[in-house]
């Protein structure tokens, strides 16, 4: 027995409200991130990730209050990503109660930022989020994209993950842009290639449509944790059902 593989529901938050729809049978306000986080905690989520997609300054302040409220009543790890560009952004989020921050575009624009952040706050709270897209199939090769997958960078995804870990990233959140939103499952080759290349834990993301996909991410993708949004939001499956399926597949989970 050892450390359990983690299930992480992800909430997209815009201006303090959960977007992309969340449907629980017995929830009063499915747009309230605090209420949704509370529900996932009750279902047995191992962590919760908030992705702040707010563009406005006011919206970002609202996000800080959301983190404070969630941290005051949900006692599992919280990760916040989206718009993390400066050391000060990280300090504010950690003080509000976030345990980890996810850095994406800012790492590409300025790789040294990751080193600074890890030196200042410790690797344990620095997650580097990587959005990767396949650019060739023989041999398979993936490049990283920024700005929600719209902007190509020409950087090799595997080399980038290794570099970010050498700069102090404590965890990698890997999203396949080819699979995101498809419900066809993770890009397992991509996931396994990067998971095997780095010493730190990898969270697989992008493409989950059924419970078997979560199991595959662990057993075939070699991920330490699996992240999903819509299958949980729309009530297709509960976290408890996901854990049941993973346990049935011989994966160690927290129950």
């Amino acid at each position: 027995m050892g450390v359990a593989k983690r299930i992480i529901p992800c909430l997209d938050v815009d201006d303090g409200r959960v977007v992309k729809g969340v449907q629980f049978v017995d929830i009063r306000d499915a747009g309230d991130p605090v209420e949704v986080a509370r529900r996932y905690d009750q279902q047995g989520a191992d962590e919760i990730t908030f992705l702040d997609i707010t563009a406005t300054h006011h919206g970002r302040e609202t996000m800080i209050h959301v983190v404070e409220q969630v941290a005051g009543e949900v006692f599992i790890p919280l990760t916040v990503g989206g718009g993390v560009r400066k050391v000060e952004d990280i300090r504010i989020l950690l003080n509000a109660g976030a345990d980890k921050v996810a850095i994406n575009s800012a790492a590409v624009a300025q790789p040294e930022f990751v080193r600074q952040a890890a030196d200042r706050f410790g690797s344990q709270c620095i997650v580097v989020a990587i959005d990767a897209k396949q650019v060739s199939s023989h041999p398979p090769r993936w490049e990283i994209f920024t700005h929600g997958g719209r902007k190509a960078t020409g950087i090799d995804a595997v080399a980038w993950a290794e570099r970010m870990v050498s700069y102090g990233a404590g965890e990698i959140l890997l999203t396949s842009m080819d699979r995101d939103g498809t419900k066809n499952g993770f890009d397992l080759t991509l996931t396994r290639t990067i998971a095997d290349a780095v010493a730190v834990p990898l969270i697989a993301s992008g493409g989950v449509g059924e419970l078997q996909h979560l199991c595959d991410g662990i057993t075939e993708g070699h991920a330490e944790a699996v992240l999903a949004a819509s299958i949980f939001h729309f009530g297709t499956y509960t976290i408890a059902e996901a854990k049941e399926a993973m346990a049935h597949a011989g994966i160690e989970v927290r129950r």
């Binding site: 359990a4 345990d99 344990q124």
Partner: protein, 220 residues
């Protein structure tokens, strides 16, 4: 008659997220005043003390030194119920391998070591460092008041690359296994410390905080 509320000070030396610890303590008792402070008088006056910590141990100890808190921490560790968490646990040891060797508070003889790599489990699967996630905690002394109401082998949330290796086996209060079996908690008299984060360990973690807040620092 006015009842004086019991106070617990969370020592603030500017490192990491003390607020999660304070919020979880507040959540664990309604008859408690939680103070986040670096003020020596407040720390000395508290009924209980929590020493949290995340990040690099050199920076943590450096800040404790800069704020002139070392003597105060050692003093309250002599008699008050005292709880160290994560790097706040590691800081209680004699020294750490981290940052090229760092002298620590020496309240528990022993070292802080890094997980060696490559690290494997019993089946030969490669393990990740940091050790991050929910692992089972095997209690050594089931009668210790801080384990009250917590099933043996309950899972707690860990995130660390270094672990403590106390010289005295008798001070190991719990173990966990990640390639190696290491001390997940240590205790001696009024001192208790955990490598895991009770404030992030949901029900089991909050129960441990509740137990700490009711603990008088003895083993009876």
């Amino acid at each position: 008659m006015t009842l004086t509320r019991s106070t617990v000070v969370v020592i603030d030396y500017g490192m990491g997220n003390l607020h999660s610890v304070a919020k979880a303590l507040e959540h664990s008792s309604d008859r408690l005043k939680v103070i986040v402070s670096s003020d020596r008088q407040q720390i000395l006056a508290a009924d209980r003390v929590v020493l949290p910590g995340v990040g690099a141990i050199r920076d943590c100890l450096g800040e404790m030194r800069r704020l002139e808190l070392i003597a105060t921490i050692i003093e309250v560790a002599q008699n008050k119920p005292f709880l160290g968490v994560c790097v706040g646990m590691q800081a209680l040891m004699s020294e750490s391998e981290e940052n090229g060797g760092t002298q620590a508070l020496n309240l528990f003889p022993g070292k802080v070591r890094r997980f060696s790599q490559p690290l494997q489990d019993a089946r030969g699967t490669l393990l990740k460092v940091p050790h991050m996630g929910w692992n089972q905690v095997e209690q050594c002394d089931l009668q210790h008041p801080l384990w009250a109401g917590i099933a043996n082998a309950s899972r707690f949330y860990f995130v660390h690359s270094y672990y403590v290796e106390p010289q005295q086996q008798s001070t190991i209060a719990a173990t966990a296994t990640h390639g190696v079996t290491f001390a997940a908690a240590i205790s001696r008299g009024n001192l208790f410390a955990t490598q895991f984060h009770p404030e992030k360990s949901q029900k089991a973690g909050l129960q441990l905080y509740r137990n700490f807040l009711q603990w008088d620092g003895t083993l009876a």
